[in-house]
Symmetry: C2
Subunit: 245 residues, 2 copies
């Protein structure tokens, strides 16, 4: 059976997941395209496949077949792919030892790109503080290129996180343009166990977190440039945290 | 005198500069906002200021005063700033010794971000090969954060560039996932004089350029990740090319 009606209740439900409110209420979200559906499946997030009649996706989960008109209705892009996935959110609560903490990252593309780089450079936990864009925003998901399924991502207020990190004796690094040390001076042992706080696009890391961090670090660069894009800065520091020698 | 009519010939000319065709024909382009206008002025690109009645911009160039309706017509963003600048393109033709070569970078945000990072990490020449998005595309200009005025940027075909680089004995590095060397193994002297070729978002560097490069380099990372965003990868390599010790 192919669902063709835009008034179908299931179609209305899928479409509602374009909004954060309904994603939060139902603990579910959508991904678009074969690559993301496969990634979600491999990591146990995939609950259901939504696809057009002529498509095949031989995975062991329930399937809903719909018309292209319906897919267009559910999708957030102009020319949607013909395979989508309904995923359940997973709540991780365990903290690792190579932690990235994000303070009010508001641009979806930046958040997605940061997650992709974090997996590339062996981050084992990402903490989203208050004020970050919703992880399940379709643009964030697209920019991660599926990497959001490869690392535990926890939403947690940073002011409650800091005492926990202190209790676990995990050194806290935050980025700051003045009064910091150059990132390339970090020692091998400092790269093994850390929580790195990266700040908002316009304002940087909140001063109250800077105060509580063990080291403030910065990326040395040409004085003509005020700052780097936050996804770029985060990726460079994470690259450095994985660099040996 | 304030120009209020959307049919005014000057307004029509400014608006035409939203299109590459007319930017090319006239060798002029627009920038939006005080920061970019000031950057253009400082570096000798600014020809004329376009601003709303209540605004002031005390720079020594001709001014055109317009209504907010007119600015909205000229601007490419929904909520335009009230100061814009008409700039002339500059044709640089001299090649430096820390060169970044871009092969078919198609996303405006990526190109702009790459230019910003290139200035941060002391690149002295950027070459845009065929197939790159137009440098004067408004989104590119915004993403550069004004840094396009800080470095000579030359449009030039890469296959004609390579023999010139060879003649000047400038080593050519290109990124490649297999058969390369890790970027962190480059020696101090290799970081002083080079041309780095970065490739297209989907396909990487064209094989015909890889063949002619002196070294293929890559960024070591976790095997779960296929690739990094091209602006991220470029910035990390440029960071490494400026890193000492």
């Amino acid at each position: 059976m192919t669902i063709k009606s835009l008034d179908n209740a299931k179609v209305k439900y899928y479409r509602s997941l374009q909004q954060k409110k309904y994603r939060d209420e139902n603990n579910e979200f959508l991904v678009e395209g074969r690559h993301l559906v496969l990634e979600a499946y491999k990591h146990g997030f995939l609950k259901e496949i939504i696809l057009c009649e002529e498509e095949l996706m031989p995975l062991d989960v329930p399937k809903t077949v719909v018309s292209y008109e319906v897919i267009k209705r559910i999708s957030t892009v102009d020319t949607p792919q013909k395979v989508m996935g309904l995923c359940r959110k997973m709540d991780d609560t365990t903290i690792g030892s190579r932690i990235l903490v994000l303070d009010e990252i508001q641009d979806p593309g930046n958040l997605g790109t940061i997650i992709r780089s974090a997996v590339a450079f062996d981050i084992d936990t990402i903490i989203l503080g208050d004020g970050c864009v919703d992880l399940y925003n379709p643009k964030v998901i697209r920019s991660t290129q599926g990497m959001l399924f490869h690392v535990p991502i926890i939403s947690f207020p940073i002011d409650k996180l800091i005492p926990i990190l202190k209790g676990l004796e995990i050194p806290i690094f935050a980025t700051r343009v003045e009064y910091g040390v150059e990132v390339e001076t970090l020692k091998e042992e400092e790269k093994e166990r850390f929580a790195l706080i990266m700040g908002n696009e316009g304002n940087g890391v909140n001063p109250k977190y800077l105060e509580k961090s063990d080291k403030n670090i910065y990326i040395p660069m040409n004085g003509e440039v005020e700052s780097l894009n936050v996804a770029i800065a985060t990726s460079i520091i994470l690259y450095e945290m994985r660099r040996r020698g």
